[in-house]
Amino acid sequence: MARAITNNRKIINTTAAWLIGLLIFFPILWTILTSFKTEAQAIASPPLFVGFDWTLENYQVVLERSNYARFLWNSIFIAGGSTLLGILIAVPAAWSMAFVPSKKTKDILLWMLSTKMLPAVGVLYPIYLLFIKMGLLDSILGLTIVLMLINLPIIVWMLYTYFKEIPVDILEAARMDGASLRSEILYVLTPMALPGIASTMLLNFILAWNEAFWTLNLTAAKAAPLTAFIASYSSPEGLFYAKLSAASTMAIAPILVLGWFSQKQLVRGLTFGAVK
């Protein structure tokens, strides 16, 4: 809002917003700080804010003791794999809905959305049973497929809203010039659609990384990603605050960084284009 406003107001706004912002961020900040303390300092009374001996020991212990790297790779494979797979399936679907719409397009989009609202517990046992029968329980492949399916509606929707913004005139011009469907997609559409596809992938990667129903229920030792790894800290290791903090920091840091880039996509992706 381009309104003239006194400096005093601005100072009050700034102070209030920063205080609230820091308060909301504090649990994360505190976790990061605690990860650099020794266990004794982590539970010291009164609590230590910055005046402690910074140490990387917790990170070393977590990395050595718990095979952290495997959980990390599982997370990367599952989140990355489900995202790639989802994009491969969703791009053609969203493309055809955006550029060759029919009377049914709206119904199909809404129906896809409705599958996202199916509560997971409603299908928990069948999926569990099918996974056992197909040998997919505790496998990266199985989890990748499930996470792809639960996020597919969001991917299709996001891509659809992005593709909708591409001017159709350009496609028509390409068609007039005799471009085939294939070259139309490859040379005209793809360059214009890439930013949207990248944003969609980013948001989907975040959602898949943090998913904590199927990852907890369908994995054990082998395919468990970071969500399950952290849950295993529940007790009694959870009482070792410094190590819990180090493990937590490592699990959330990559996503915090990615997340900060995806604020706009978050609104678009999770409101299905209804809030702009």
Partner: protein, 288 residues
């Protein structure tokens, strides 16, 4: 414009996504429906045949059913009230001119990106532990007796944790909607002598109407299904067993598939009631 050729090509391109989602929805849901009519205890006798609506009746009549509905509604309602009220206030504040707006936005949005198991565990241990938690230190500092959060105030704790996770979502969406408000309209009302409260109720709130509805509906759908936050903190004890969690326990912990499946169908129905409203709004938006 679209030729017959491009139409059939379009159908082909849509097919994989449609077929996969159709399978994902129909196959397991049909199985759940099937199991819900059978007495099925995999570890104690297996599938013991058709029992009609018995599972639905016993799930409904079990002593855990109504408490679980109550818990679910309390968590959903509590989190909604907190996130919507503070979300609106925060969105209005963040929309004001200030220094370092971008950074504050980042600070506020951050909790949404923390994985649920991490936020649950960090809050439970590092903040709410009755001996070493930060809250215990704070309480002792003011001479109060530390609260044993997970047992004495289990619902409050879970509502606090979940609200912390979802406040960023509400704020971000409401902020996006606030920013599209026509500032001239606000200025005009100011010149006409509207007081801040009047401006809020007659201009800002109506403008935020649709965003608010969307926030409430989407959060409700996600909140009905929260799992990790309960799994990691109380494990469903101390009156924190939601309908979803109850179904999870019946299915995987006590392996009473028939009963759990009936509960699952109840959960599906509950979610669908909310979903219908959301779909209507989203659908309307597609037309414009």
């Amino acid at each position: 414009m679209a030729t017959q050729h491009s139409r059939s090509a379009a159908r082909m391109m849509m097919a994989p996504a449609v077929i996969l989602l159709l399978g994902w929805m129909l196959v397991p849901l049909t199985m759940t429906l099937w199991f819900s009519f059978r007495k099925y205890l995999p570890l104690r006798g297996g599938d013991m045949g058709w029992v009609g609506f018995d599972n639905y009746v016993s799930f409904f009549n079990s002593s855990s059913f109504w408490p679980s509905i109550q818990t679910t509604l309390l968590i959903v309602g509590g989190v909604l009230i907190i996130t919507v009220v503070f979300g609106v206030l925060l969105a209005l504040l963040l929309d004001q001119p200030m220094w370092g707006q971008g950074i504050v936005r980042i600070l506020v949005i951050a909790p949404f990106f923390v994985m649920p198991t991490v936020s649950a565990l960090v809050w439970k241990n590092i903040f709410m532990d009755p001996v070493n938690g930060l809250f215990a230190h704070l309480w002792k500092f003011f001479g109060a007796t530390p609260v044993v959060w997970m047992s004495q105030a289990s619902m409050e704790s879970i509502i606090l944790i979940v609200s912390w996770q979802w406040l960023p979502f509400a704020t971000l969406i409401l902020l996006t909607a606030t920013q599209s408000l026509d500032s001239e309209q606000l200025e005009a009302s100011e010149i006409d002598g509207a007081r801040p409260l009047q401006r809020f109720f007659y201009i800002i709130l109506p403008h935020l109407g649709r965003a608010l509805t969307i926030v409430i509906l989407i959060q409700t759908i996600f909140l009905l299904a929260i799992f990790a936050e309960i799994f990691v903190t109380t494990g469903g004890a101390f009156g924190t067993k939601t309908l979803s969690y109850l179904v999870f326990q019946r299915v995987l912990e006590s392996q009473n598939i028939g009963l759990g499946s009936a509960g699952g169908i109840y959960a599906v129905i509950l979610a669908n009631i909310v979903a219908i409203f959301l779909m209507r709004i989203v659908g309307k938006n597609l037309d414009t």
